[in-house]
């Protein structure tokens, strides 16, 4: 944690394992001019930032800025350093993410920053919708920042799973593997979320042994995270418990970054990894164990 930017001590966060990673809309409003804070907006809707954003916030687009354009991967270490530098972020900056749809892509950005070892990253609880519902200001002015010197750490492999890791994970007796896609994708009825192109994998269904806890069930209607007791029950009753190593996946690793955030930071699970290859990769692999229907298989 940054030594200069105090955490949000809102009592609503007290029950979470790591309350320091959440801030309220009011905390953000109070830190709009804090030079040690950089607010980043990451949305699913491609043009929400352009429509208006929190004053001082900068855009981090998941598709064009967090990913490499040719190789299927996140930006590499040098690419991440450039991304941070261009946004005026130093290694000591407190980075606060917010976005649309329950902070779906905000947690994706959070995951990427943690992957490259950024110390102080936080998420604005409730995201863009809560800020808007409270009548807080938006602007179209894009801040001009001086590029910084930023040195990323080596990628943190402990929060990311590759397909080999999933295969090894499945060798355990009761592997905790959580598929966070919609029930229709999990059962094999659809290859992608409702309303999106049905493409990306050769087979429909889920990784054999995975249980289904759709990512959005961790959020309240106003986009804030559910209380710790509700979250504990939600995952616990499906066998996703803190005593086991857990791997989360979805279609391309974005929805599962939200679940990863909930399990690791709100519930305090020690060993949680995001399999970003996810169903787009797994559903096209030859010879791996799959299942269809409502049961893990």
């Amino acid at each position: 944690m940054s030594t200069t930017v105090q955490p949000d001590t809102n009592p609503a966060f007290a029950g979470y394992a790591h309350p320091e990673v959440l801030v309220t809309t009011q905390w953000v409003a109070d830190h709009l001019d804090d030079p040690n804070v950089r607010i980043l907006e990451s949305d699913e809707d491609l043009l929400l930032y352009e429509l208006g954003h929190i004053p001082g916030a900068m855009k981090l687009d998941w598709e064009t800025q967090m990913q490499q354009p040719v190789k299927r991967d996140f930006v590499d270490k040098a690419g991440f350093e450039k991304l941070a530098s261009e946004r005026g972020i130093t290694n000591d900056t407190t980075v606060v993410f917010y976005g649309d749809k329950n902070n779906w892509y905000a947690t994706y950005g959070f995951w990427l920053f943690k992957y490259y070892g950024h110390d102080d990253v936080r998420v604005m609880d409730g995201g863009r919708a809560k800020w808007e519902a409270e009548g807080r200001p938006f602007t179209r002015e894009v801040p001009k920042v001086e590029p910084t010197e930023y040195t990323a750490k080596d990628p943190d492999g402990s929060i990311r799973a590759f397909r080999e890791d999933v295969l090894k994970h499945l060798e355990q007796e009761n592997p905790a593997l959580v598929d966070v896609r919609s029930p229709q994708e999990y059962t094999g009825e659809l290859l992608h979320a409702i309303g999106y192109p049905q493409e990306g994998a050769q087979r429909a269904g889920h990784v054999k042994g995975a249980v289904n806890v759709p990512w959005g069930t961790a959020a309240n209607e106003d986009g804030t995270f559910k209380a710790v007791d509700e979250l504990r029950r939600l995952y616990g009753e499906k066998g996703i418990t803190p005593d086991k190593p857990v791997i989360a996946y979805c279609r391309i690793g974005e929805r599962s970054s939200h679940t990863w955030f909930v399990l690791k930071y709100l519930l305090g699970y020690e060993d949680v990894r995001n399999y970003d290859g996810s169903w787009t990769e797994w559903g096209s692999l030859v010879g791996v164990p799959n299942a269809v229907g409502n049961e893990p298989g």
Binding site: L51, I194, G195, P197
Partner: protein, 146 residues
């Protein structure tokens, strides 16, 4: 060709100041469409003249910037077109209107209004043909992408 920022300005202008966004009580055909999973919904209304042209087009809806801007752009574009001309439009039309970036990134959102308008035309043709032949084709009021 416009640059990315110019296309963005067009999309945002149509999103914030939508043209033809109203219900049409005397429409020849109306059709609802949508991507329920991501919350994009559109209803297209068409008034079609006896000689088979789109006399008036309008829409109602809610959802993301691109899907709703698409409603405004498409209803503006198709007024005056023949039904065949509307049916001949495609993804390329949306690329011309809002740019390749937006269409490639969000193809379903970008083509929602167009697809719904074309389905409305199909529905109108089917109903008219049935009516001409004295058959009750029944109403078609929804087109959802699942």
């Amino acid at each position: 060709m416009l640059d990315r920022q110019e296309y963005i300005e067009i999309i945002l202008d149509h999103y914030e100041h939508p043209r033809h966004k109203h219900r049409m009580e005397d429409a020849s055909v109306q059709l609802g469409g949508g991507n329920p999973g991501c919350g994009d919904l559109i209803t297209v209304y068409l008034k079609i003249s006896d000689d088979g042209k789109i006399e008036q087009a309008s829409f109602e809806g809610e959802g993301c910037t691109i899907s709703q801007a698409g409603g405004s752009i498409i209803t503006e574009l198709i007024e005056g077109m023949t039904l065949d001309e509307v049916k001949a439009l495609g993804k390329e039309t949306m690329i011309e209107e809002i740019g390749e970036d937006a269409v490639k990134s969000r193809v379903r959102c970008a083509t929602l209004a167009l697809g719904t308008a074309q389905a409305a035309v199909d529905s109108y043709i089917k109903t008219k043909r049935s009516s001409d032949e004295g058959i009750d084709a029944g109403p078609v009021v929804e087109r959802f992408e699942n």
